[in-house]
Amino acid sequence: MGNDVLVFGEIRGGELKKVVRELISAAATATGGTGGATDAVLIGAGAASLAGKIKGFGLRKIFTVEDELLANYSTEGYAAVLASLIAENKYRYVFMGATAMGRDLGPRVAARVDGVMFSDCVEVRMEGGSLVVRRPVYSGKLFVELSPEGDRTVFVSVRPNNIAPAAESGGSTEISPRPSGVTRDMIRAMATEIVPLAGGRPDVTEADVIVSGGRAMKEGANFRMLEELADLFGGAVGASRAAVDAGFAAQPIQVGQTGKVVNPKLYIACGISGAIQHLAGMRTSKVIVAINKDPNAPIFEKAHYGIVGDLFEVVPLLTKEIKTMMQ
């Protein structure tokens, strides 16, 4: 087995996921100095036209697979495409985003080709010719570093926003349309449609800025105040488990060990005390701001900046201040 890499170019909502360029960057790390090459595969509607977006990023080939049967995501349809590419090209590594799709697809294909998978990696590097990945465990309470063993394909899902995205580097990339080889009977579970989150706000796992509220928000309607602050950044609104359990916020925006694990550039925690299970979900945020009445709230131990005060006073002022600053 050589050192070639396959990057899974995930398409969602007609767009290539932002993480794909981060995967290309991770692939460059894995092939660096080994003579390995990186290919990418784009599956589904729009694959051929989206391939142009990563052409010239140091890729050898981009496989595009368009088929009516693959217009909607299915584990089995997409797995069949990946498994056949791996069988033909004997990839040493397969990189995918640690997204809903990547986390569903990766282990299924890894099982099919008898590989190994490292989920949710935040760092990828080479040491003495061997791949080393770092990944959080216990919901980010610890990290572990691992290396693969044996002569098998290694699947790595990379958590978005952790690796600097690849830049355009020129070079020729062959775009190679490919028949899917998928038949209807292979697909037993199939996505039929996607229903967007109510409110159409950015998802907490993808936003660069998150403004989160806790139990101290008092009621759901008060989250509007957090939305106004988040809107200045095109950011997402999050909530602690306490806020979700109290019915102030919907479960899909819950940040924490039993909710979403997030990794934004800026996390503003409003009226969140900082229970260990919440901290587990947001502690890797680059800059954490805490606004809380209680100077002893544990959130201040993890925050970089804090204001001890009433969020109902502080948040509107902060929104106004930042708005002025941005003009």
């Binding site: 809903a100 569903d104 282990p107 996505a191 800059v287």
Partner: protein, 263 residues
């Protein structure tokens, strides 16, 4: 129907997790262990399905884990599961997902199954792999991160929602299938006192690897842990204070722009 629910014993979400002295794993002393919280949604969904069918369907817990996992299994039985299979073997210390999936596949095949529920991931290793590897080994479809589940009247298919970035993906699947469950799917019930009393009499069938016809531990030799790392120490929190809140806020905004460079 034969409804299988999978269960893993994990440290409580509130537990402080520290690296052990040898640097080979975590310190377990003083750590409270519970049913993996996401698995509770799987157990609840299995129980709800049994109640809806009301046709003598059974819910069987399947767990691969150490002796101590018995307590978590009893809790699931107290919630209402009918019986349990506990694969418990000293050879299974710290197994990887390929090992666990192979072992679970053998145990589940021996039981027979029509549907399998489990949590979307275990909150210890956070790998979220076992259910998908298991689906491949059993050659059945998988639906991960389910937030809604509706079995068709003929029990040959089901409609589900699963959580993805920015929305819910609607899925149709044939049965049997493995469904990994996410928060929002249901509200797991508590074990009642009569439930706890009844659970004491319910059968837990203990199986070794040999009982499942497994001679060698499967799936090993795929990866090695190089080291465990604590979280980097957070810097001191800079508390921004001023006589007037508005001045503190102004200073915070300035710091976010000029020092942290996030505005």
């Amino acid at each position: 129907m034969k409804i299988i629910v999978l269960l893993k014993r994990v440290p409580d979400t509130e537990a402080k997790i520290l690296i052990n002295q040898e640097g080979t794993g975590i310190r377990e002393d003083g750590v409270k262990f519970v049913i993996n919280p996401h698995d509770e949604y799987g157990i609840e969904e299995g129980l709800k399905l049994r109640e809806k069918l009301a046709d003598g369907s059974k819910v069987t817990v399947v767990c691969a884990g150490p002796e101590e996992a018995t307590e978590a299994i009893r809790t699931a039985l107290a919630m209402g599961a009918d019986d349990a299979v506990h694969v418990c073997d000293p050879k299974l210390a710290d197994p990887n997902p390929f090992t666990v999936s192979e072992v679970l596949a053998k145990a589940i095949q021996a039981e027979g199954f029509d549907v399998i529920f489990c949590g979307k991931q275990a909150i210890d290793d956070d790998l979220a792999q076992v259910q998908s590897i298991l689906a491949e080994k059993l050659d059945i479809p998988q639906v991960n991160n389910a937030t809604a589940f509706e079995m068709a009247a003929d029990c040959r298919s089901a409609k589900l929602s699963r959580r993805i970035e920015g929305g819910d993906e609607k899925i149709e699947t044939s049965m049997p299938a493995i469904i990994s469950c996410d928060k929002g799917l249901n509200e797991p019930r508590y074990a009642s006192l009569p439930g706890i009393m009844k659970a004491k009499k319910k059968e837990i069938r203990k199986k070794s690897l040999a009982d499942l016809g497994i001679a060698e531990v499967p799936g090993t030799g795929r990866s090695r842990v190089l080291k465990w790392l604590p979280l980097p120490k957070g810097g001191e929190c800079r508390i921004v204070a001023a006589e007037e809140t508005v001045d503190a806020v102004r200073e915070l905004a300035r710091l976010l722009r000029e020092e942290a460079k996030v505005i």
